[in-house]
């Protein structure tokens, strides 16, 4: 995901521009929000250019606005249909070399530092390098885009219910307050050693070996693959880990290697606390 500054849009209704009707405002804002933009709706007559990133000012200007002025783009909104508005903003985004929105579903863990005890269970659990530590050895989400979309697995291992996924369906993972009952729930306290060394991965390993031997006997790769899929889907049904996430797990050997690496990272961070 690009960290380049995004294009910011201003819906301008200050001096030199006609005010919009409520319907026009709502229509323009809805179109732009659906395209992923952030918009300031203003009726003051000065527009502040952000320190970083490009700015597009839209309004029903009485006189023809300058196309650009010191890096700020202007465009007349009058008589634009929603599709034309969407095209116009997309062109301005591309010209400004600002990142495109919507290519990635923003799904990543958010840590509630009021609850987190810095125990490092999440770091040692995650196989995809999402977590790391800062200069003070404090747990941090470092690689948002490595997170597997719709998978809330690491929130299940946090003993403090400190890991949120704001777009998750239910509380407390979605950010709803944490009750004592939530903390007591068995699923909040998944035994990490079982997850890393035991049940799940051992089962995967076993299945994969069986599939491999069958593969060599039958030379039927489709069948071996469907075996593995069946096993993974069963695992997915047991928790709420989406099957496509389990399907994207690396090979059992690689899982063991990455788990050891993550555990070593967590142990080193804990040792320095």
């Amino acid at each position: 995901m690009s960290l380049a500054p995004a294009l910011h849009v201003v819906l301008y209704e200050g001096s030199g521009a006609e005010p919009l009707s409520a319907d026009e405002r709502f229509g323009a804002l809805s179109t732009l929000l659906e395209q992923g933009y952030a918009i300031s709706r203003t009726s003051v007559s000065t527009v502040e250019k952000p320190e970083q990133g490009a700015l597009l000012v839209l309004g029903k200007f009485r006189a023809t606005p300058p196309a650009t002025d010191t890096g700020v783009r202007f465009h007349n909104l009058a008589n634009l249909a929603p599709a034309q508005l969407a095209d116009l903003v997309e062109t301005a985004r591309a010209e400004a070399d600002a990142p495109r929105h919507g290519a990635w579903k923003p799904w990543f863990p958010v840590i509630d530092y009021d609850r987190c005890t810095n125990c490092m269970q999440c770091l040692s659990f995650c196989l995809f390098g999402v977590y790391g530590v800062d200069g003070e050895k404090r747990i941090q989400v470092q690689n948002n885009d490595n997170c597997k979309t719709n998978c809330p697995a690491c929130s299940r291992v946090c003993p403090e219910a400190a890991i949120m996924f704001p777009k998750y369906k239910a509380g407390p993972i979605n950010g709803d307050l944490v009750s004592d009952a939530d903390l007591a729930k068995e699923k909040m306290k998944v035994d990490i050693s079982a997850l890393l060394g035991g049940d799940v991965y051992a089962m995967l390993r076993l299945r994969s070996e069986k599939a491999k031997s069958r593969f060599s006997k039958e030379r039927d790769s489709d069948k071996a693959l469907s075996e593995r899929q069946k096993c993974l889907i069963k695992l997915a049904a047991a928790g709420d880990i989406p099957p496509e996430v389990l399907m994207s797990l690396p090979s059992p050997e690689e899982i063991v290697r990455r788990a050891a690496e993550a555990q070593a990272k967590a142990a080193a961070a804990l040792a320095e606390q």
Binding site: M1, S2, L3, P5, A6, H8, A22, D23, R25, F26, L29, S30, L32, L33, E34, Q35, G36, A38, I39, S40, R41, T42, S43, V44, P50, E51, G53, P99, H101, G102, W104, K105, P106, W107, F108, V110, I111, D112, Y113, D114, R115, V141, N144, M164, P166, K167, Y168, K169, A170, G171, P172, N174, G175, D176, L177, V178, S179, D180, A181, D182
Partner: protein
């Protein structure tokens, strides 16, 4: 001297279906009808992941009222983007659970009722889990 009006931030939660569409549309419409100045963002989660500097600007601009989702999540998203919301100057209205009327009225009443959770204020027993 009277206090400046709090700024208003509206989140459209564009990349998930967790906020009911009718609620977010009704809140946005209410803002559009009111004629007030406000900031509208497509998806706070996405902005937080991108560490968008607009979040830091908002967090440091004084009192703010935010229509989005759970206050605990919004607080965490701002923090993770490198911008902490002011504990004594931010009110988060939750479009996942509150009605559009409630959120719209609170956004526009000009009074901030700070409600971000903190270590000291978070109740140990909260609302029953919605699972």
């Amino acid at each position: 001297m009277s206090q400046p009006l709090p700024s208003i931030l509206y989140c459209h939660c564009q990349y998930a279906q967790v906020v009911p569409k009718e609620v977010k549309d009704a809140v946005l419409r209410r803002l559009c009808e009111s004629g007030v100045a406000f900031e509208a963002v497509a998806d706070l989660c996405e902005m937080s992941a991108r560490r968008d500097p607009a979040l830091a600007r908002l967090a440091s601009s004084g009192a703010v009222k935010i229509a989005a989702c759970f206050p605990r999540a919004v607080k965490g998203l701002f923090h993770q983007s490198g911008a902490d919301l002011p504990l004594d100057g931010a009110e988060v209205l939750n479009m996942r659970v509150q009605s559009a009327e409630e959120v719209g009225a609170a956004l526009l009443d000009g009074v901030v009722r700070p409600n971000l959770p903190s270590k000291h204020t978070a109740p140990s027993v909260a609302t029953p889990p919605s699972v």
